[in-house]
Amino acid sequence: MAEKVLMKGNEALAEGAIRAGCRFFAGYPITPQNEVPEYMSWRQEEVGGAFVQAESEVAAVNMLYGAAATGVRSMTSSSSPGVSLKQEGITYLAGSDLPCLIVNVMRGGPGLGSIAGGQADYTQATRGGGNGDYRTIVLAPFSVEELGNFPKKAFELSEKYRIPAMILADGILGQMMEGMSYNFEPVDPAALCVKPWAIGPNTTGRKRNQVYSYGLAEGELEAMVLKRAERYALVERDEVIYEERNTEDADVLIVAYGISARASIAAMEIARAKGIKVGMIRPITLWPFPAKRIAELASKVKAVLCVEMSLGQMKVDVDLAVNGKTPTYLHAKSGAFFPVAEEIAVAIESALNGKKEQLFNLADLAEKATNERAEAKNAPCKEGALL
């Protein structure tokens, strides 16, 4: 096995992208992903690639759009508020069928939120996020090692299907240090195949290429969207990646990705020590989602427990997969508080025994909110009062 080097997540990611042949990077500063552009600023120069500190995330993603259109492995990275701004470019990249890599080192939201890690951009990442009918391939690492090794996987999937790829990490992964070893030899960009659809630097010997996302003639756009959907179907069928632990004999199935999966592994050990049979499936691709496998596993357990740093965004996908056949529960930490193993262990027991402790249920909040509103009935503007 290759020797491990202690590396910070964001740096492992940046170096991993370089090794994967990325030769264009544009970005804008935002915590907790600043190490990525900082690393790229000198490393791209070293390998003869391009680095641009853009004037905004909007500009950065549009630089990415231009660079990706030339066929060079290109990437941008940001964190949640910045990724919101990038949606304009991401929908054009998707609509123009350009491979590229977008990294979101998520932080707490909405709005400015917090600078600590978060996982609340799940829906935005897996449903498209920008305007129109499209998807991005979303990879969710859960260790520094995966953070460093996923760029290559992301570029390869993205190029195979001409669908933008996203690495959905979080501020904890980005900031933490762990042993890193790359599981691939550095890619020589010159050895990659020349993309027949790419623009520049010369059309001699080929037809001119056009990169665009519009289709204004009757039926043109629909044909484009449907053609793309064929590739989505292949991705959903062939490219699902997940990891399972202790699922053989499980009574409770945890579903968790990224940093929440790390905490869930520790929780599983606590619960198993108490004799509770708990297993876990960790979606590594969030789109395509391992729905089929989750359905199979769910049919064999008594309860499914989702653990995520958002109020059930991933659980929507789990519920669609489980389809009401097994009760599903949620242990949620939103607002950039990290999942804690001991609390998840309590949630596991609650899910198994029909208790409420450490389980999040939106309906439970309605009663509380109703009471608070009743107390405030004499407030001067009670409709608008933020209680």
Binding site: V52, E55, A59, T70, S74, G200, R208, N209, V211
Partner: protein, 256 residues
């Protein structure tokens, strides 16, 4: 009989959708002639905007990319940095460049990207139906300024060439017009220079083209030309705002 003129090879033989009299088509022709004359057609990438020129990618006989509203200079930056041997030009209207895309043009200029920008100033939003642009003249009516642009509510028109010329990096900035034969010849010279500068690695070059939009101004093309000369030119004087002979790299090397 000898043909004294022909369609430039860089301009495809397809029907353009521009209105009769529109300045866009003249600007297209001048760019295409330039591409032919400089023999750069095979190396050129056109970045088409959002606006009436959205289909520029269907008209120029070269590689193309059509991008989000106003982001042309960022897209051009990405292409040029990824493939420095490409000749990249961003073609933009005044809503595209001076309103939604203001940050992208200013920063591409400030970085001194070695690209060419052709900026069509027709003092109005053409494609969406005659709304006010940052370049709309004081008193000029628009569908979103039915009583005319009022400086108290909407401020004064923005003179982009003058603004950009205050930056250090841009090498060449000129405002031209396509209202008459002599001015078209001057416009051609400017456009050619803006491409030559890129070929010779001199740096960021920008040509603002005063142009007419008879459709949304609600006038005939001829009346439109009068409006351009009488009303636009006093606000937007023609001329060279910046013309540096050396690239920024050359200047720094010489310690200037």
């Amino acid at each position: 009989m000898n043909a004294i003129t022909k369609r430039p090879e860089s301009l495809l033989d397809v029907t353009m959708h521009y209105c009769p009299g529109c300045g866009h088509s003249v600007a297209h022709r001048l760019i295409a002639e330039t591409m032919d004359e400089l023999k750069i057609r095979e190396r050129t990438v056109v970045v088409a905007p959002v606006g009436c020129a959205v289909f520029a990618d269907k008209y120029f006989n070269c590689d193309s990319i059509q991008g989000p509203h106003g982001r042309g200079p960022a897209i051009a930056t990405g292409i040029k940095r990824a493939k420095p041997d490409s000749i990249v030009f961003s073609y933009q209207g005044d809503g595209d460049l001076a309103s939604i895309g203001m940050a992208e043009i200013v920063h591409a200029a400030a970085r001194g990207e070695n690209i060419t920008v052709i900026f069509i100033n027709n003092a109005i939003y053409g494609m969406t139906g005659g709304q006010m642009a940052p370049t709309t003249l004081v008193g000029q009516t628009a569908t979103t300024a039915p009583k005319g642009r009022n400086p108290l509510l909407q401020g004064f028109p923005m003179n982009i060439s003058e603004m950009l010329s205050k930056l250090e990096s841009p090498r060449y900035i000129e405002r031209v017009s396509v209202d008459s034969a002599p001015n078209v010849i001057k416009a051609k010279k400017a456009i050619k220079k803006a491409f030559e500068n890129q070929v010779n690695k001199i740096g960021f070059s920008f040509v603002e083209v005063l142009s007419i939009c008879p459709t949304n101004w609600g006038v005939t093309p001829l009346k439109g030309l009068d409006f351009l000369r009488e009303k636009m030119m006093p606000q937007y004087p023609l001329g060279v705002f910046k013309d540096e002979k050396e690239s920024v790299a050359q200047k720094i090397q010489e310690g200037k």
